[in-house]
């Protein structure tokens, strides 16, 4: 359908090669290389200050790297300015033109074209209404941005960006300014929209749930370095290091040790040791809070003994704050409501814990 992206080519392939960017003494990006395959929706994920927004701004042409290259479909675009890159931009705070109606905002990119390739008035009207239909705002063309809700504004911003038929769409924390419920709706909707139009898209976020839910691929950044790239399943199930593990979900840290090629935590023997680990090496073992098997009563022999300090029911799950006997540390584990009811736990009850799966990383990070 004319008026969506209008071109047969779904999107550009973007390559980032050895990009470094410094602001004074601060290194925002440190030799980052990354590929964005054509038609993919990629999330740049990381804590604030990790360089993800700087990377997005370099791809958009709003910032120039100190060294390295940006390739658009194999062509060097590093020195091209924003105007020449033909990318669609969506900002966290929408950046809608306040003095223009919704219609005029979406039509802006078509109206500013040189006369010879500017579409006729009818074409513009048709295309704008097509886009507004696509973002489900067809009835609001005459409104001004201040008369719209946050979610509606962001959809107008998206329609405006798509109006110029970009081959690349860049979204900077697009849902950051919205409340939780609208954010959830809008990201599902963005995913559906992307399935429909298949334009190469990159979005920046610090919300791991958002990245895992929406993106085809997730690139995790930390302190200017790329930590891992992969499918959401890859980065969650097979994190490359402790930072990625901890950033994508909470983890319980347990002290462990390698004995006879096996990983030992207290009196338990677990899988998860790798050949790279030396014998008798002290290591940190990570277990997701929901990956514990919790049993009532503790015989003192197998598993980790603890007593229940607090019970925190949070919707469908119940969090238990437990106090370990052996190390005198608090740890937090998560049970399904069902399992919790089955055990009927109360504060001061004694339990036995067994990690169902664990991860060990050669290098240790902390966040």
């Amino acid at each position: 359908m004319e008026g969506k992206t209008g071109s047969n080519q779904p999107g550009m392939k973007i390559e980032i090669k050895n990009i470094t960017k410094r602001f004074g003494a601060f290194t925002a990006l440190d030799n980052v290389s990354l590929d964005f395959p054509s038609g993919d929706l990629v999330a740049l994920l990381g804590p604030s200050g990790c360089g993800k927004t700087t990377l997005l701004r370099i791809i958009a042409g709003m910032e120039t790297p100190d060294s390295g290259e940006v390739l658009f479909d194999g062509e060097d675009a590093t020195r091209r300015n924003v105007r020449e890159r033909h990318v669609g931009l969506v900002f966290q705070h929408y950046a809608l033109f306040r003095h223009m109606s919704v219609f005029e905002n979406v039509a802006f990119g078509l109206r500013v074209r040189p006369r010879e390739d500017r579409p006729s008035k009818e074409e513009i009207r048709e295309r704008v209404h097509g886009l507004l239909k696509l973002v489900q705002l067809d009835g609001l063309a005459a409104r001004y941005p201040t008369q719209l809700s946050g979610g509606q504004r962001q959809r107008v911003a998206l329609a405006r960006a798509l109006a110029v038929q970009p081959k690349l769409l860049l979204l900077d924390e697009p849902f950051g300014a919205l409340d939780a419920k609208v954010r959830k709706e809008l990201r599902r909707w963005l995913r559906l929209l992307h399935d429909e139009i298949h334009i190469t898209s990159i979005f920046v976020t610090h919300d791991q749930e958002e990245a895992l839910e929406v993106a085809d691929r997730v690139a995790v950044l930390n302190t200017g370095k790329l930590e891992q790239v992969g499918t959401p399943d890859d980065v969650y199930q097979r994190p490359a290091n402790a930072f990625v593990y901890n950033f994508l979900g909470s983890g319980v840290r347990l002290a462990g040790c390698i004995k006879g090629g096996r990983l030992r935590v207290g009196s338990l023997t677990l899988d998860g040791a790798e050949a790279s680990h030396r014998e008798d090496q002290e290591t940190v073992v990570y277990v997701r809070p929901h990956d514990f098997q919790v049993e009532r009563s503790y015989d003192g022999a197998t598993g980790i003994g603890a007593f229940v300090a607090r019970v925190l029911p949070v919707g469908p799950v119940v969090r238990l704050e437990l106090f370990r006997y052996d190390t005198a540390e608090f740890i937090e584990v998560e049970l399904t409501r069902e399992r919790f009811d089955e055990l009927g736990l109360q504060p001061a009850d004694i339990v036995r814990l067994k990690p169902k799966s664990a991860r060990v990383f050669t290098e240790d990070y902390s966040i």
Partner: protein, 278 residues
């Protein structure tokens, strides 16, 4: 009806503050202005009309309002550039430049008039270069415009500066990514965004210029029909003990100024309402 005006708020004192506001405005603004009207009323209507429409008075209105409008326009244009540079760029001496903008606020206007006259006179630093070109910068209407431009500069800069700061660079980036040229970005995105601020700055610079006296009398030469501004005409009449005539012209000036400012305020109100405020 009156009671409906009162709304509950954390800070009490609606009655007190409103009462104070009315009293204060009456004392400072309304009563002196009322006295002007009263004094004028001692003239008969034909006499009043003859005074305010005398050729000398008409010439002075033309100069006062004309030169003020030109000066305010010049200030709007260059003030915008100054504000832009101060907001958008970092350069050595920026704080000093920023402080310099306020100088016309603080300087006694007579000092400004004397120094401008010295600089722009035939043998002055700048005047000596203008003279061969046939440009007479002092003792001419041009001199009036120069003085009024000087004293009006801070108004536009100080009203546009915060608006530009608030506008940020996102709108420009959005416009550029949509393919707009620099000129299109400026005229279609930035200018409409700062329009209310510019209008306020223009109105304030204009109002200030209309009321200016001290700096102009030094540089204009004060020739009746040619370089005599209305405030000077009023002073002249006062010196001749023609109090009623002086207040008559004052009233005429007041009415015109009020009407102009009202129009500008309505324009502002309209743009603000339309675009949801900037």
């Amino acid at each position: 009806m009156i009671l409906n005006l009162k709304r509950h708020s954390v800070l009490p004192g609606f009655g007190l503050t409103l009462g104070f506001t009315l009293l204060y405005l009456s004392l400072i603004v309304l009563i002196p202005l009322g006295a002007t009207f009263l004094k004028t009323a001692s003239l008969t209507w034909p006499k009043f009309w003859a005074t305010v429409t005398s050729p000398r008075a008409l010439a002075s209105y033309r100069l006062s309002f004309g030169a003020s409008a030109i000066a305010a326009l010049i200030n709007t244009f260059f003030g915008l550039i100054v504000a832009w540079v101060l907001v958008r760029y970092r350069f050595p001496g920026k704080r000093i430049a920023d402080a310099l903008v306020d100088l016309p606020f603080a300087l006694p206007t007579a000092v400004a008039g004397i120094s401008l006259t010295a600089v722009f006179a035939k043998n002055g630093w700048i005047g000596q270069w203008l003279e061969p070109l046939g440009i007479k910068a002092v003792f001419s209407p041009l001199g009036v415009v120069i003085a009024l431009t000087f004293i009006g500069l801070p108004f536009v800069v100080r009203t546009v500066q915060p608006v530009l700061e608030e506008l940020g660079t996102e709108f420009e980036e959005a416009a550029a990514s949509l393919g707009a040229t620099r000129w299109q970005t400026f005229t279609r995105v930035i200018l409409p965004g700062i329009w209310p601020g510019l209008l306020t700055g223009f109105a304030m610079a204009f109002a200030r210029a209309v009321g200016e006296y001290g700096s102009v009398v030094f540089i204009s030469g004060n020739m009746p029909m040619r370089t005599e501004i209305t405030p000077l005409l009023i002073i002249t009449k006062l010196e001749q003990y023609d109090y009623a005539g002086a207040t008559a012209i004052a009233v005429a000036m007041l009415v015109v100024s009020f009407a102009l400012l009202l129009v500008i305020n309505l324009l502002q109100w309209w743009t603000r309402k339309r675009f949801g405020g900037v």
